[in-house]
Symmetry: C2
Subunit: 437 residues, 2 copies
Amino acid sequence: MTAVELIERKRDGGTLTGNEIRWLIAEYTAGTIPDYQMSAMLMAVFIRGLNGEELTVWTESMLTSGEVLELSAIPGRKVDKHSTGGVGDKISIPLAPMVGACGVKIPMMSGRGLGHTGGTLDKLETIPGFRTSFTAGEFATLLAAHGVVLGGQSEHLVPADRKLYALRDATGTVPAIPLIASSIMSKKLAEDLDGLVLDVKVGRGAFMEEVEQARRLAETMVEIGDLRGTKVIALLTNMNQPLGREVGNASEIRESIDTLHGEGPEDITRLTYALGAEMLVMGDVATSVDEARAMLEEAVSSGRAFDKFKEITLAQGGDTAVLDNPDLLPKATNEELVTAPISGWVKRCDALAVGVGAMRLGAGRQRKEDDIDPAVGVTVEAKIGDRVEQGDVLGRIRWNDSYAYGVAAPLLTDAWEISDSPVPPSQLIIERIGAYV
Amino acid sequence: MTAVELIERKRDGGTLTGNEIRWLIAEYTAGTIPDYQMSAMLMAVFIRGLNGEELTVWTESMLTSGEVLELSAIPGRKVDKHSTGGVGDKISIPLAPMVGACGVKIPMMSGRGLGHTGGTLDKLETIPGFRTSFTAGEFATLLAAHGVVLGGQSEHLVPADRKLYALRDATGTVPAIPLIASSIMSKKLAEDLDGLVLDVKVGRGAFMEEVEQARRLAETMVEIGDLRGTKVIALLTNMNQPLGREVGNASEIRESIDTLHGEGPEDITRLTYALGAEMLVMGDVATSVDEARAMLEEAVSSGRAFDKFKEITLAQGGDTAVLDNPDLLPKATNEELVTAPISGWVKRCDALAVGVGAMRLGAGRQRKEDDIDPAVGVTVEAKIGDRVEQGDVLGRIRWNDSYAYGVAAPLLTDAWEISDSPVPPSQLIIERIGAYV
């Protein structure tokens, strides 16, 4: 078997066997197959696709390319949530403590922000002292003791994905459904999960702009889970406008705390409950989504969800004082307002424009190496369907660097569009995919 | 402009502009665009193709990636022939002196054998002292003095092709018509030609097994010539069985000498005259193919063609004694016969099997680095359509190394198939493509 033979077969639309895919991924991870051969293969896969069987082996081969968590000694079901990435998407932060407070184990591994999408790790690290990097042993100990870990992905987990993702990024082979699905699923399955809830974003601020594409991605990931024997449910959710009101690292922690107190924005609260309810059912602590939702509401109203967040923060080295007093979190020095040029109804509140604008302010990274400014960001005061009068505040631009503000301001000013006729609010949860019960 | 943007566009079936292609090839040749990006691009080009305009710029960009010959100071038309490669294809060796003897200038640059196909340079170098490597200055001086040069391609000519070909070979992107056409045409156009005759091989021993594919390749190359203002004619010729009787380096020189004396095998003689006639018309020394053919016959019968070969050999440092006495050329120590198992008619005389068998004997190279044995090879005694009696000799295996013989023998024994009913001889020249007048 040679790499060229496999490339030629895929190039011509053929199928690779399980052994061939295992060999390919193992040799690439080991460095025996060079980048230039793998990039030709990735382009062939991009254009020709992978069938269900190929995809499952591809994902498995990535999964077993490195360390895999072994959490079976810890009692209880382990469930996680993964989002394909959006603007203002801080859902993991209120979700994990809420679900953890109801008794499901959450071995969560999140990522950092890149481009217009934010990252859970960056947000958590605005809490002074908050650690997100652990050895496999520390991770398991934290999970056993507190039921929830909010960590980053270890270097040893799925090295094939790290290598492949960097290559895809440089060779125009990122947005292919089999490659996205195997990348996400290999990392999540390496967490030794019993269940996984996927939040597949659709729209302007998402990786997938069309529902049809997002549905195919969701179905593909659910299918990989099925073939592996892991429960997977996907919600397709709207990412045309930012989620919640806050886009920025420290401010999203503030909004997460509000949500844990039951005072979060309506969309954040609704989506957190919807995803959390799936996790409680998967985690076998509730028998129905309705029962699960009532449990989550009780965890919030009783203060147990917030207390769980404090417990996790303390366990991960974070300063809980900022949770009790979010005003201690970093704040930007300057604020400029975006106001409504006419009276009417908000027709567009562009997640991509707000995401890119916030990134330009310093809230996100253009390149992986970039530093972020935890204090800056955008507050979204008017969302799609809202009635506004001329001069009303649509958004607040919170900035520190005047050059960055100069670049971001035009993008952010153009992010809103006002219509002179009423606009219906947009549908947050579009579709639920998967059926494991 | 970034490489990723261009890769993405071609991946999705889009078109690249002239400036984009020029940038891509220049930056790749310079090493700024890495192999892993170029291989993704090559796979996208392989699957999506290049349109005529893209292909012309692609070829031009390769052509101008290095040195280009400047031969305009030398009077007379410069014409060359290129074959896409076959088994027993020694046509260049009798052709160049014949055409040269009629007054057309031939700045010929040939290659070495790889895989089952032989190389003109390897064959010529079985003549003791024969040099094929020249500086641009030496090359022009030889051409001016003798009208014909039988050289190799300089390192400085079309470096983009050398780099791209090595990458294509390692990434399953060799057999794409635009990539083959641009590779051939960039190298030939770098010879500063007025005209080019292409011998596009079709069949078992050729790169293209189907006439339809070969025709598309020929048409593509003729089109590149047209757009560049260079006269190009292509003959599609049969490569199901070896050309002539000899497959092997020294023995093909012997057969070439026979042909220059008017005593070559019928197919070699016919194809040499057909290609040569096109070259004389292109070279403006004949007004029709019939007139040209008579001139070639006269050059052979008068001995001027053979004398020209001696002149070239002497000029390039070769020992002309072997031309007068070909028995001085290296000969293999051992000979084994392949005989007809039954009486009948030869139905198959497999060029690929004979080519691979000869390579295994040591006449060719599996890898570029391999050495060749000039003495070994195969003599084809029976060709398609020939009547044979049981026990008649079909082929002679001339070998030196017993291990190599052991590997080659089964391939060569299986190369012939005898039918019990008559088989028509195969058609040598299938089609002529192009019209420059």
